[in-house]
């Protein structure tokens, strides 16, 4: 029997549909665009910053915002706009790397615990519970106290705090997907555990993990700020939003802009990650999806 091949790949890829739905959600789209702008600025920080982060000009200390210094200057005469821009790269780097690390480790652990169950699940999840039992910031402080302050240790500390969260979210999602009939159907045609996990379980368990990533990025930026504020994260003179906030605190009555602009940068970034997370939650929910997709036809 001869037959013409048919396309195996989707006629209309799913990610394009997802993107289309996200574009229709104005709030999430706005948040995504703002974040994109922040990320571009952070990546090309040197190009965007008018001055170097640590260029001091004692004569120009504590200047209020003006045309030459749109965000004003700090107590050492450093340009705050430049420091916020360069601080963005530090804050976002810590955020993305720590969440990325937590995402990989946590998802893997959650996947194994959820899919295999039994003693694997017991051991892994009790371990996660132990980590989870510590207050997040206290745990991070403890880790930094042991390993010493600094950017890379901050990344590790925040990652350790988020691993159990990703593990739990993944496990819960996997537990649901594991019991789906299509997983059993794939097993019935002879698919291996590895294939089931990578082709069916993980892709279908992904939506809550994606949403968690977005929300966690917001918290990681905040955590970095908090740790730097406490003097455990980024070390001076390098700028980071949290550190700038801490430095600005002393001058809050005298020069509000020292704390205001880095504070605003934190607020805007965190808010955008959260709004994007909410938008993704809606878009990735299959029930919402049919409704919204239906509306467009």
């Amino acid at each position: 029997m001869t037959a013409e091949p048919v396309p195996l790949r989707p006629v209309r890829p799913r990610w394009r549909e997802t993107l289309g739905l996200l574009v229709r959600n104005k709030v999430a789209l706005g948040a995504a665009l703002v974040l994109l702008a922040i990320i571009v600025v952070a990546v090309f920080d040197r190009a965007f910053a008018p001055q170097s982060a640590n260029a001091q000009d004692i004569a120009d200390r504590l200047q209020a915002p003006s045309w030459s210094h749109p965000f004003g200057t700090d107590n050492l005469g450093r340009d705050i706009l430049s420091r916020v821009i360069i601080g963005a790269s530090v804050s976002l780097k810590v955020g993305f790397l720590s969440v990325g690390l937590a995402l990989v480790v946590g998802t893997l652990l959650g996947l194994l615990a959820g899919y295999y169950g039994g003693w694997v699940d017991d051991v892994l999840m009790r371990l996660m519970d132990m980590l989870f039992a510590f207050p997040a910031v206290l745990l991070a402080i403890a880790i930094l106290a042991i390993r010493g302050p600094g950017t890379s240790n901050t990344i590790i500390a925040i990652a350790v705090v988020y691993v159990p969260i990703f593990a739990r979210v993944t496990r819960a999602s996997v537990l649901g997907v594991r019991e789906e009939v299509y997983v059993r159907a794939s097993r019935s045609v002879g698919a291996s555990d590895f294939r089931l996990l990578t082709r069916h379980v993980l892709p279908n368990a992904a939506p809550p993990i994606i949403v968690q990533t977005s929300v966690s990025l917001a918290f990681a930026v905040l955590a970095e700020a908090a740790l730097s504020f406490l003097g455990l994260g980024t070390q001076p003179p390098n700028p980071s939003w949290g550190l700038m906030l801490a430095e600005g605190r002393e001058f809050i009555g005298l020069a509000w802009w020292l704390a205001f602009f880095p504070g605003m940068a934190i607020v805007v970034t965190v808010l955008c990650f959260n709004l994007l997370g909410d938008g993704l939650r809606d878009v990735l929910d299959p029930r919402q999806r049919t409704l919204m997709a239906g509306g467009g036809r």
Partner: protein
């Protein structure tokens, strides 16, 4: 099985329901008219999307008013259900019309005992003491055939089997002796042996109380056992109605014929080759209510469609000519909405 000597319990006239959906306006029910006499069982038959369930939800005001537009007239013992205030409708729902759904858990509150739920219903519509209501509740459970009715009063719904739960729902629906009982796929989720018990129960209660019954189902076998009259719905319209014998034994509409032909029949004789013949099927799928065909709703799937009239002009329900009379009572009309003349 009395005829409609006293006036009908329910008289539905030109019922239309439109639902606003993200895909546009869905014309779910398009001009439905029928009557239910006292003690009579009218079966409304159709596949999913035919509008059979929505048509009764609309009668009892159970569709969300924000998305549903309901027009027409539905007289329950002379009073128009569609023109009632929400308060009046709530009063009518218990004593006037009881309802039994497919999943008994949708009508039972999982955190209240069975007894509490029946007592609540009784006391909402009549001024009775708690003790009297409880006694009456136990009587009702005994009437629907629950073993140990006194003990069942203190049980929670999840402690009962599916069949027992459906009996409780029927007890609640009948607790205020309604003149009309609406059963929406009430036995679909049950095993056949339990289904047989429930059908027997409803028939017995109906004979005792003279309740009119609307039995909504997709199962033509159940219809044959329980109905006096049958109304076949397709695309939100009644395409055929008549006595159960007329519709099931002498179907006039090609859709009804297709439906009957697609039913595997336990009583079918084996062919000459010792095998059962293939089922005749209705090709294709029912139309989406947002996108109904013009003309006869069935024409895109019709195996015998004829001239262009099928595609342009909607056939009215007309009386099907017939040789013999019905089995009982005055002759009831057998009607079908089709251009292909039986």
């Amino acid at each position: 099985m009395s005829g409609s000597m006293a006036g009908p319990v329910l008289e539905v006239d030109d019922l239309r329901v439109q639902l606003r959906t993200p895909r546009g306006t869905a014309h779910v029910v398009n001009g439905l008219s029928y009557t239910v006499g006292p003690g009579e069982t009218v079966a409304v038959v159709g596949e999913s999307g035919s509008g059979k369930s929505v048509s009764v939800l609309a009668l009892l005001g159970l569709l969300p008013p924000r998305v549903a537009t309901v027009t027409g007239r539905a007289l329950l013992e002379g009073e128009d259900l569609l023109a009632m205030s929400p308060e009046r409708l709530r009063q009518v729902r218990g004593p006037g019309a009881g309802m039994v759904f497919q999943d008994p858990m949708t009508s039972l509150n999982p955190v209240l005992t069975v007894g509490k739920q029946i007592v609540e219903g009784l006391r909402a519509h009549a001024d009775v003491s708690k003790e009297a209501a409880r006694r009456r509740a136990a009587e009702l459970l005994a009437e629907v055939g629950l073993p140990d009715p006194e003990g069942a009063l203190d049980r929670y719904p999840h402690e009962l089997s599916g069949g027992m739960r459906q009996r409780v729902v029927i007890a609640i629906a009948l607790s205020n002796s309604p003149s009309l009982l609406i059963a929406d796929e009430a036995t679909t989720a049950l095993d056949v042996t339990v289904q047989a018990q429930i059908i027997d129960l409803v028939e017995k209660l109906q004979a005792d109380h003279g309740t009119g019954v609307i039995w909504i189902t997709h199962d033509l076998g159940v219809v044959a056992g329980i109905a006096d009259r049958v109304l076949v719905m397709y695309g939100g319209r009644c395409v055929e109605d008549g006595t159960v014998d007329d519709v099931l034994e002498r179907p006039a509409h090609p859709y009804t014929r297709g439906l009957l032909g697609s039913l595997p029949d336990l009583a079918a004789p084996v062919g000459p080759d010792g095998e059962l013949p293939d089922l005749t099927t209705v090709p294709g799928l029912p139309p989406a209510p947002t996108d109904l065909p013009t003309g006869c709703v069935f024409w895109p799937r019709c195996p015998v469609r004829g001239d262009a009239r099928c595609e342009t002009e909607q056939p009215p329900l007309v009386v099907v000519p017939r040789g013999q009379k019905g089995h009982f009572g005055p002759e009831l009309p057998h009607r079908a909405a089709t251009w292909c003349g039986g």
